[in-house]
């Protein structure tokens, strides 16, 4: 009964989302305050019903109610409680429910925090969010109902995919979705501004923190996914340009452009129409990601095509939402031009290049991901695109992006005065050259051209981000949170660049057969195989290998890679063992039993791989830090169209 109640709660939530959309949008259009306040109440009501509906499904998982089809298909009584709860988002239906719940949380946060916003603007924001919520709830209830019963009930469940029975995997979807879905808040702010026909740029000030927040979540979500793929899948890769990965990466790239262009719009009232377009684009890309992942149009995600209705539904929703927003844009944008200038060498122009290059990067990933479909449409035959295409192509826009970053953060607003920072720029570049080339040729040694370039640019970014804040600290000038956050985020970029550079150029990987007691040396590390032993877990059995890694006479890692067979699904999984240190990972994974105590093993040495995820996490941290800036607490009061924001501690001091 409980699950039926949950189902009913979702139907009520659907009704409330419709009310939220209708009263929010028409209330604002007709300037009826009562209607607008109904929208706010609808958000709260919708949230309560969503929570209730989700709770009943969680309950079904906890008590092992295998009369619920979704529970029977994705859980099992032998599954530990933690994973039984996480199994809720273990497949299509539940992850969609999670998506909707996350949207509910964002919406209620907007309704609550947005009390300071002009009521009609807030009503429009909530109205747009209501439309998004309505679309997804309708999708859930009509094509992907997780509350469906199974008759007769299953005796036990089919179990959760073993690979997903992992801590990082269990927490990864909520974080990633918080990022994805958060971009719909950004979208709603932009749409509200366009619907209202605002000609000022106050909306950019309001939209900024929400976008940065969502972007930080998205960064963490993608990094967690990459980390999980790395250590659970066991093949040592951390990014494969798989269409599914790209689906999350494209909104991130466009989102990164957006948080920068929002700064210019917020601060100087420039690039208004571009920022609005980007807001729409970021949201479109996350919707597109949903389409690509759940409709079966791409090879990586074939398994969802089972139901073409889903693809049709999302595509229709996409056409209505994005088509509508872009039509609105075409209508409003022409009146948003501004006659404010800036010089060739100024912060504005660097952010312009940042945006252009990030847009090109997004387009490259977009084109590569959709290439098979595009070739199909144009009748160009079969085509497949993998890492060997993406790796070099992606560098085309991102190399100049990374190279310009160090210079850009030293440029002043409005007027070019780079000459003032010339010394600092050249000084940091000189240090970066010495240190970077020293590391490349002194420690790692590489014949690739990109290695020294990446190393020097990475270090330069870190140094040139640090130099101004450090000089100011020495002069005892307090740094606003905005500047600190920006510095931290850019240091994250530098660390990220260093990580990629070294892991991509100096990784050593060997597949080798070793008998018990034999060893093999890669990159100065001796991997000694000490054999395997049987192991038993709660819902699996298997073998565990033992590999000792030593450098010189010192043992540096004690690795236990295992190979498991999960009872319920009969799946065999290999779990690599990783000896991690800040500057390198040593991996060993078991292949096959070759008989007579011999096994095939994959051994890897991956330098600096931790820097990749660390860099992403630091970027996200920097983003979150900017949210504590004073300027967001002393938000300018909404006023007439030509009011400009005053006082900008974020950049005025740089």
């Amino acid at each position: 009964m409980l699950v039926e109640l949950g189902h009913f709660a979702m139907i009520l939530a659907l009704a409330l989302s419709a009310a939220q959309a209708f009263f929010g949008l028409t209330g604002a259009a007709l300037k009826r305050e009562r209607w607008m306040s109904v929208a706010t109440s609808a958000v709260t009501g919708q949230f309560l019903f969503l929570a209730l509906g989700t709770a009943t499904l969680v309950h079904a998982f906890v008590v092992n109610d295998f009369s619920v089809k979704y529970v029977a298909n994705h859980s099992n009584s032998a599954l530990p409680l933690f994973y039984r709860v996480a199994a809720l988002w273990g497949a299509h239906e539940g992850s969609l429910l999670l998506w909707i719940c996350v949207l509910g949380v964002w919406s209620i946060a907007v309704a609550w925090r947005g009390a300071k916003l002009p009521p009609d603007y807030l009503a429009r924001v909530l109205g747009v969010l209501g439309v998004v919520s309505f679309g997804f709830l309708l999708f859930l209830l009509t094509t992907s109902n997780p509350f469906e019963r199974l008759l007769p009930a299953a005796i036990d469940g089919a179990d959760l995919n073993p690979q997903l029975q992992d801590f990082a995997m269990a927490i990864h979807p909520p974080i990633l979705y918080a990022g994805y879905v958060g971009m719909s808040v950004s979208f709603a702010f932009a749409c509200a501004a366009m619907l209202e026909g605002r000609r000022d740029h106050l909306w950019a000030h309001w939209q900024r923190p929400w976008t940065v927040m969502a972007w930080a979540f998205l960064s963490c979500g993608i990094a967690l996914g990459s980390w999980w793929a790395y250590y659970v899948l066991g093949w040592g890769g951390w990014w494969a340009w798989d269409p599914v990965e790209n689906a999350s990466f494209m909104p991130w790239l466009a989102g990164t452009a957006l948080i920068h262009s929002l700064i210019v719009t917020d601060k100087r009232g420039l690039f208004k129409s571009w920022t609005l377009l980007l807001s729409v684009a970021v949201f479109s890309l996350s919707l597109l990601g949903t389409f690509l992942v759940r409709s079966g149009v791409l090879n990586s995600v074939h398994s969802f095509a089972a139901d073409p209705a889903r693809g049709i539904f999302i595509l229709s929703f996409l056409v209505l939402m994005i088509g509508g927003a872009l039509a609105l844009y075409a209508w409003r944008a022409p009146s948003l031009g501004s006659d404010v200038g800036f010089e060739m060498v100024s912060r504005e122009s660097f952010i312009l290049f940042n945006n252009i290059l990030l847009a090109v990067a997004t387009a490259v990933v977009f084109g590569g991901t959709l290439a098979p479909m595009i070739a199909d449409t144009l009748g160009l035959g079969t085509l497949s695109v993998g890492p060997p295409y993406f790796n070099p192509s992606f560098l085309v826009p991102t190399l100049p992006l990374v190279a310009l970053l160090s210079v850009g953060i030293h440029a002043r607003w409005r007027r070019g005065q780079l000459s003032l920072s010339k010394q600092r720029l050249l000084g940091t570049l000189a240090i970066a050259l010495v240190v970077g080339l020293g590391i490349v040729y002194g420690i790692y040694g590489s014949t690739r051209l990109m290695t020294p370039i990446g190393a020097v640019l990475g270090i330069w970014i870190i140094l040139s981000s640090l130099v101004d804040p450090l000089l100011q600290l020495r002069k005892r000038i307090a740094l606003p949170a905005g500047v600190l956050g920006m510095t931290v985020a850019h240091i994250g970029v530098g660390i990220f660049v260093l990580g990629i550079t070294f892991v991509e150029s100096s990784t050593i990987e060997r597949d080798i057969a070793l008998a018990q007691g034999q060893s093999h040396t890669i990159g100065g590390y001796e991997f000694r195989f000490l054999g395997v032993e049987n192991m038993e877990g709660p819902n699996f059995d298997g073998v565990r290998g033992h590999v000792i890694v030593s450098q010189g006479s010192k043992v540096v890692a004690d690795l236990h890679p295992d190979k498991r067979r999960y009872f319920v699904q009969g799946t065999v999984t290999t779990k690599a063992a990783i000896g991690a240190q800040w500057n390198r990972d040593l991996l060993a994974a078991l292949g096959e039993d070759l008989g007579s105590n011999s096994w095939s093993l994959r051994l890897q040495y991956r330098p600096m791989i931790r820097f990749v995820w660390l860099g992403a996490a630091i970027m996200a941290l920097g983003g979150v830090m900017t949210l504590f800036d004073r300027r967001y607490r002393t938000a300018p009061v909404a006023a007439t169209a030509n009011t400009q924001t005053t006082g900008d501690p974020v950049q005025a001091s740089t």
């Binding site: 798989d242 090109v360 497949s384």
Partner: protein
């Protein structure tokens, strides 16, 4: 085929779950004999990483643990051993499995749009940026906005 079916279902679960990341479930350890010559081994490594496993489709030959991938790795090994060039080996695979097997699309006229796209987009982007810059540089820089 049942193994492939299970894999497929697993992949489904992973993708549904994450929208991110899953590429291979159980990776492969390559049992193909290694070349003594590091140049040949490097070519082998490169080729097996740029040919797709047709059966699993979302991973390279080098990382796949299905039987056919092992056979094709062996085939690559044999072809290198018999003195075939990388181009000939790619042609060999394409003749049998179509261009779909190439993770690195060919630089052909048909694929020109794909390979030219990053460069052309970059140039177009720079042109647009310069036009905006030139226009903005001629406009008055109002100072009243920022304290």
């Amino acid at each position: 085929m049942s193994a492939a079916r299970i894999r497929q279902r697993l992949l489904a679960a992973v993708f549904a779950f994450t929208m991110l990341g899953a590429v291979a479930l159980a990776f492969a350890v390559d049992n193909t004999p290694q070349f003594a010559d590091p140049v040949l081994q490097a070519r082998y490594y490169g080729l097996t990483h740029e040919l797709r496993c047709m059966q699993c489709q979302s991973e390279a030959l080098a990382d796949s643990n299905v039987g056919l991938a092992a056979d094709l790795r062996m085939e690559v090994h044999k072809l290198i051993e018999s003195g075939k060039s990388d181009v000939e080996i790619r042609d060999f695979m394409v003749a049998r499995y179509s261009e779909f097997i190439l993770l690195r699309p060919r630089m052909s006229l048909r694929n020109l749009w794909l390979w030219a796209a990053p460069g052309l987009l970059l140039i177009a982007g720079i042109v647009v940026a310069l036009r905006v810059l030139r226009r903005r540089a001629q406009l008055p820089i109002s100072d009243d906005e920022v304290s």
